[in-house]
Symmetry: C2
Subunit: 113 residues, 2 copies
Amino acid sequence: MNEDAQKLNALLDFDLLKKLVVGIGEVSEITGIPTRKIRYWEEKGAIQSETNIEGSTRRYNYLNVKKMLLIQEMIDEGFTLDAAIKKVEKRMVTLNDAFRRLADTVPDTEDKE
Amino acid sequence: MNEDAQKLNALLDFDLLKKLVVGIGEVSEITGIPTRKIRYWEEKGAIQSETNIEGSTRRYNYLNVKKMLLIQEMIDEGFTLDAAIKKVEKRMVTLNDAFRRLADTVPDTEDKE
DNA sequence: ATATCAATTGTAGTTTATTTACAATTATAA
DNA sequence: TTATAATTGTAAATAAACTACAATTGATAT
């Protein structure tokens, strides 16, 4: 069980993956959601970007982007933004959890050789 | 065997992951490698950024970043840049392969409902 | 020591990306 | 048609990244 995560981690480096945060322009290209809309959603509390330093630019991680895609899906299906947010939020719990579980897997041992 | 990848894909969405490309500043923060050095390495052919549109900014995907980290490791161990590149290139074959295998896993079926 | 080459770093001036803050538009339901 | 939700437009300012120069550092050979 944890062995699988171990193997996966060797292949994928979740520690690195967690840090892969992209700018708003990139997110827009990836998802097809206009930057203006992304900012609007953020105002509304639908998503929250990582902004380490104040007065800097927005950064989004994998899960942020995933969430946006899910919200857009819901909206396309006819839900209101608020409803979509609530629905997606529930789904995200699972994803966050699974992701955290994978990310927290301690790599075999840092010092090789 | 493919079932594992299937399950993993539901959790991770490699299709999305492939598209998560970060800017040079972000890479620098993540890896600790100065932006100037990253550009230099790119000149030397050690790495190649994705630059969709000409006259735009550099973008790096997960594997690019991973490669930089590996190269830096080699250099820290005393290898020359050229030697490091060759060594890492060999390792990357495996990673690229594994990654591609995961990424190419066809999601269950696009149209649900 | 010094010449040589690899590796890295510095930076000015310019281009590209993002932000904020204002307002306008479109869509939907009462 | 009025009210509210959702989205979009944009100008001016700030941040991030680019290029193209050159300088510096470090190791190795002469």
